[in-house]
């Protein structure tokens, strides 16, 4: 007996080992683990290149000064030549054939590790350079490099060139570098002196010039001509008729235009000291209205080294990313907070209702939401055009608010009122809220729009109000629908209570069966409608008949169960439904969700925040509800024993226990969201991931490194900050 057990154990062990080997074998096979790839020279070279680029994030941009030294070179050889000797480089042999190896020796460079490029400039009408390789100097400022000649044969002499690029300036000693932005060969300051600014527009050849002046935002501020009245046919001023010169009394205006043989000189007046280097002029052919050339009024002078464009863009995007995570966390929190109680087992397991209560309640929900949203539509139709008038919106806001306030005072007053009067008051409150909210949202939109310009750079503050107003207006039917649900369910509860206490046993059961059967049928029809919408079956048997039948039978079955047990435990059903929805949502990665949202709302941060918000809602609801499930039950029992309602019990016994962990979880989630939002851009969700993805695709690893650095810094500091803050709340 013991022996056979031993044998069986040994067999299991052997089978286990074989199983593990098979699993690992498959795993290695399926994941394509390959040493060849790791050791192959080309792969290693690219790895080194990428790692080196990543180690040099392009945080700052340097301008370079290039020093070149050339030798003339014949390819192929017209005759024998031992070597060509240039000022600093000597090439041996002195001429060669395509693909031949030659030796380039350099002297007289800066000693010690000065590096440069070797180029071959072929005989071509285009500006072409071919790379021959790189060199690095020794301690004497010399180098010797073997390179291969390219396949560019030509009769004419071609050029072999050594280029040494030197970085301009250091952080301690920055140099100003002039860039000839308007390409006229002159350093234009772009600053008005003694009331005028002169600029020459190279390449603007015209007898009768006309000139359009463009401000930094590309708006044409004036279009003047030295000739007859014309209208621009293309270019920035397209469609604008020309004024005679100097007809404009603006501060900044064109005062003189002088046509030259190759260029047009333009004089612009303006207040002394004004920097107009971002302004442009477009020179038109004054007889045809066609654009000839455009140029900036000033040239750019930038320091070297300077903070790179990549760095600036990265900082902007990482800020967007943190805000994306912030918005997503807030939205997710708002959804998860109330729902977390519905998915907490300990709160839901005792929730039960009578059969009639369940039936009427289920019937009341769709009726309530429909009535509420329809009422908003009705209100909008009645108000009509007047709803765009600011005064009318203010009137709605004030009147609705006052009515709401008065009704709330009556409703929450000390005096006990009969259920019917309370219901009437609640109805009034819902109606008043509809007017109040419509007015409020309208005022927010109108007021926000009006304040946007006066606020200047702070225009995003009124912009927020506009967004709140717009979102509010869109969601108003839903919100009032919720009010309708509350009203209808409360009515249904009262009716159910009355029926339960006033009906005889037989009638009560009959009513229960009837109510639940109707409720089941309506749920079935609703689901049927969803299925029909989804699959477009257009088959009434499947989308109407069957669901109604199944729903009715479900209702009767529930009623039967409830009749025997007295009450129907709906709490656990709600618990399982919410749990299932959350678990499903949570198992879809935001990176996948974002793809759906990109289709819906387009590329960008908005799609990213929607996807992240949905995932956050599900994840937080789970964390929260688990927290609710782990609270001390004693206080819950004590508060329930005082005769408190369910809601009161939650507020007095549950909420105080869960506030600190909720804060902690929310912060943790924000931390996670910042991390996630950095990669949402890979799927089109905006934020820094977009830049990173772009740079990786383009092979701009030095730029990508800046984004990686930014992500690392932000994620690490969020991590640190959130863990420090969380310590206080646990």
């Amino acid at each position: 007996m013991a022996d056979s057990t031993k044998k069986r154990r040994r067999l299991y062990l052997v089978l286990g080992v074989v199983g593990v080997v098979v699993i690992y074998g498959l795993a290695v096979e399926r994941t394509g683990v390959s040493l060849d790839q790791i050791t192959s020279e080309s792969r290693q070279k690219s790895l080194v290149r990428i790692i080196r680029s990543l180690a040099r994030p392009e945080l700052v941009t340097y301008d370079f000064e290039e020093a070149t030294t050339d030798v003339e070179y014949y390819l192929p050889c017209p005759g024998a030549a031992s070597a060509v000797v240039g000022a600093q480089i000597t090439v041996t042999p002195g001429c060669g054939d395509p693909g031949q190896e030659i030796t380039i020796v350099g002297t007289g460079f800066e000693p010690f590790d000065e590096s440069g490029r070797l180029q071959f400039i072929p005989d071509s009408e285009f500006d072409v350079t071919l790379s021959l390789g790189r060199f690095t100097t020794d301690e004497n400022g010399e180098f010797e490099v073997s390179v291969t000649l390219p396949d560019r044969p030509s009769e004419a002499p071609q050029v072999i060139r050594a280029v040494v690029s030197t970085r301009l300036g250091t952080w301690a000693n920055r140099v100003q570098v002039w860039t000839d932005t308007n390409e006229n060969g002159v350093l234009d300051s772009g600053v008005v002196e003694e009331g005028v600014l002169n600029v020459t527009v190279e390449g603007a050849r015209t007898e009768v010039p006309a000139v359009a002046l463009l401000d930094p935002t590309n708006q044409v501020t004036e279009f003047v001509t030295t000739g007859d009245a014309i209208t621009a046919v293309d270019g920035p001023a397209s469609g604008i008729p020309a004024d005679p010169l100097a007809a404009n009394d603006e501060d900044i205006a064109v005062v003189a235009i002088e046509a030259g043989s190759t260029a047009t000189a333009v004089t612009v007046r303006g207040p002394d000291g004004t920097d107009l280097s971002a302004w442009r002029v477009a020179v038109y052919e004054g007889t045809t209205g066609a654009v000839v050339a455009t140029a900036f009024l000033g040239d750019q002078v930038e320091p070297s080294p300077r903070v790179s464009q990549t760095t600036i863009l990265t900082i902007e995007k990482i800020i967007d990313t943190v805000f994306l995570a912030f918005v997503a966390t807030t939205a997710g929190l708002a959804i998860a907070l109330p729902l977390s109680f519905l998915s907490a087992r300990n709160l839901m397991k005792d929730v039960s209702t009578t059969v009639i209560g369940l039936g009427l309640g289920l019937l009341a929900i769709p009726i309530g939401v429909l009535a509420g949203s329809q009422y908003v539509e009705l209100q909008r139709r009645v108000v009509g055009e007047a709803g765009r008038e600011t005064m009318f919106l203010v009137l709605m806001l004030v009147a609705g608010g006052a009515a709401l306030w008065g009704l709330a005072r009556l409703l929450f007053g000390r005096d006990r009122r009969s259920p019917l009067i309370r219901t009437a008051l609640m109805l009034g409150a819902v109606v008043a809220s509809a007017a109040f909210l419509e007015g409020l949202y309208g005022v927010l939109v109108v007021g926000g729009e009006a304040l946007r310009d006066p606020f200047g750079v702070l225009g995003f503050v009124p912009g927020l109000f506009v967004t709140i107003g717009e979102v509010g207006a869109v969601t108003l039917p839903f919100v009032i629908g919720l009010g309708g649900i509350a009203l209808a369910v409360s009515l249904a509860n009262k009716a159910a209570y009355w029926l339960n206490t006033h009906l005889g046993s037989a009638m009560r059961h009959l009513t229960g069966y009837l109510a639940l059967a109707l409720a089941g049928a309506s749920i079935g029809l609703l689901l049927g409608a969803v299925v029909d919408w989804l699959y477009q079956l257009a088959n009434p048997t499947v989308t109407v008949g069957l669901p109604a039948l199944v729903g009715t039978s479900w209702g009767l079955w529930m009623a039967d169960r409830g009749r025997r047990g007295g009450e129907v435990r709906i709490g656990l059903t709600i618990y399982y439904i919410t749990r299932t929805i959350f678990n499903t949502l949570r198992s879809i990665e935001p990176l996948v969700m974002v793809i759906v949202f990109v289709v819906w709302v387009g590329f960008g941060e908005f799609a990213g925040s929607l996807a992240l918000a949905l995932h956050t809602a599900a994840a937080l609801a789970k964390l929260y509800s688990e927290q609710v499930e782990s609270i001390a039950t004693g206080p819950l029992e004590a508060v329930r024993a005082t005769g408190a309602t369910r809601l009161q019990t939650i507020v007095y016994a549950v909420v105080p226990q869960i506030v600190p962990p909720y804060i902690s979880f929310t912060m943790y989630r924000w931390d996670i969201n910042v991390r996630m939002s950095t990669i949402l851009g890979f799927a089109g969700g905006g934020g820094i991931g977009f830049l990173l993805n772009q740079n990786i695709q383009l092979g701009e690893y030095q730029s990508a490194a800046v984004q990686m650095l930014a992500i690392a810094i932000v994620v690490a500091s969020m991590d640190y900050a959130s863990s420090r803050l969380r310590e206080r709340f646990t």
Partner: protein
């Protein structure tokens, strides 16, 4: 008059916690409930205000059937029944006064109380209740900052807020230092004597039963094994209630 008729509770896991228990409590009585741990004392008390749903039997209070009450009626019944717990069951992170106020929830408008708004009359009442248990100066403290004895007094103040006609006390002194037990029991006694409130109190120590209760009932494995004046519990009865290996101490 509280009447318990043929009360039986079988938990979902099959445990028989109460087995056909019947007794009556006249108004104004101090009833001690004794028995071993697990004998069904807590279940019995919790069945009275239906924190635990009885499986069978009825509980009648002034001829109203508590066991048949709907949710709304149950709330109205519960608010007249104060309850004091072995582990005090205060919300640790809330202030003492908030814990006491919770006793008033059954009487307040649900919507207003959610915003932590109470009438000034209720606020005065909370101060009075706290003064009565000698904790007027601790109103603003957090419940967790109080000692065990003080926490139980807050629990009593919470029950007082309910203007109770019955107080159910579930082992109110079992997790306290024995020297504090009398202070807590005296508060319950005062509620019973001075306010005429019926008290149903489960207790471990027989000497506390002798000292404070008018009458005692004993449970053993869910069955009622004794009902009578406490002094009738002699050695033979004691063995019946606490099992044959038990010995009297003190």
């Amino acid at each position: 008059m509280l009447r318990v008729e043929h009360l039986t509770k079988i938990y979902e896991n099959g445990t028989l916690a109460l087995d056909d228990v019947s007794f009556e409590v006249p108004d104004g009585q101090f009833l001690g409930v004794i028995g071993l741990s697990g004998s069904g004392k807590s279940t019995l008390l919790r069945c009275i205000n239906r924190l635990i749903e009885p499986t069978e039997g009825r509980i009648l209070w002034n001829d109203v059937d508590i066991t048949a009450a709907g949710q709304e009626d149950l709330r109205r019944i519960r608010r007249r029944i104060g309850m004091v717990f072995q582990h005090f069951n205060l919300v640790d992170r809330s202030r003492v006064v908030t814990n006491v106020m919770a006793g008033r929830l059954g009487y307040t408008n649900p919507s207003l109380s959610l915003l932590n708004r109470f009438s000034s009359a209720d606020q005065v009442k909370a101060q009075e209740s706290l003064s009565r248990v000698g904790l007027a100066d601790k109103a603003r403290s957090l419940a967790s900052e109080l000692s065990g004895g003080q926490q139980q007094r807050v629990g009593i103040a919470r029950a007082l807020m309910q203007d109770p006609e019955i107080v159910l006390a579930d082992e109110p002194v079992a997790s306290l230092d024995p020297v504090l037990a009398h202070s807590i029991m005296q508060h319950l006694e005062s509620i019973n004597r001075d306010d005429g409130v019926t008290v149903v109190c489960s207790l471990h120590f027989l000497d506390l039963v002798h000292r404070y209760s008018d009458r005692a009932i004993a449970l053993f494995n869910g069955k009622l094994v004794f009902d009578g004046p406490p002094h009738e519990i002699d050695d033979a009865r004691f063995k019946e209630i606490y099992g044959h290996e038990a010995e009297r101490v003190g």
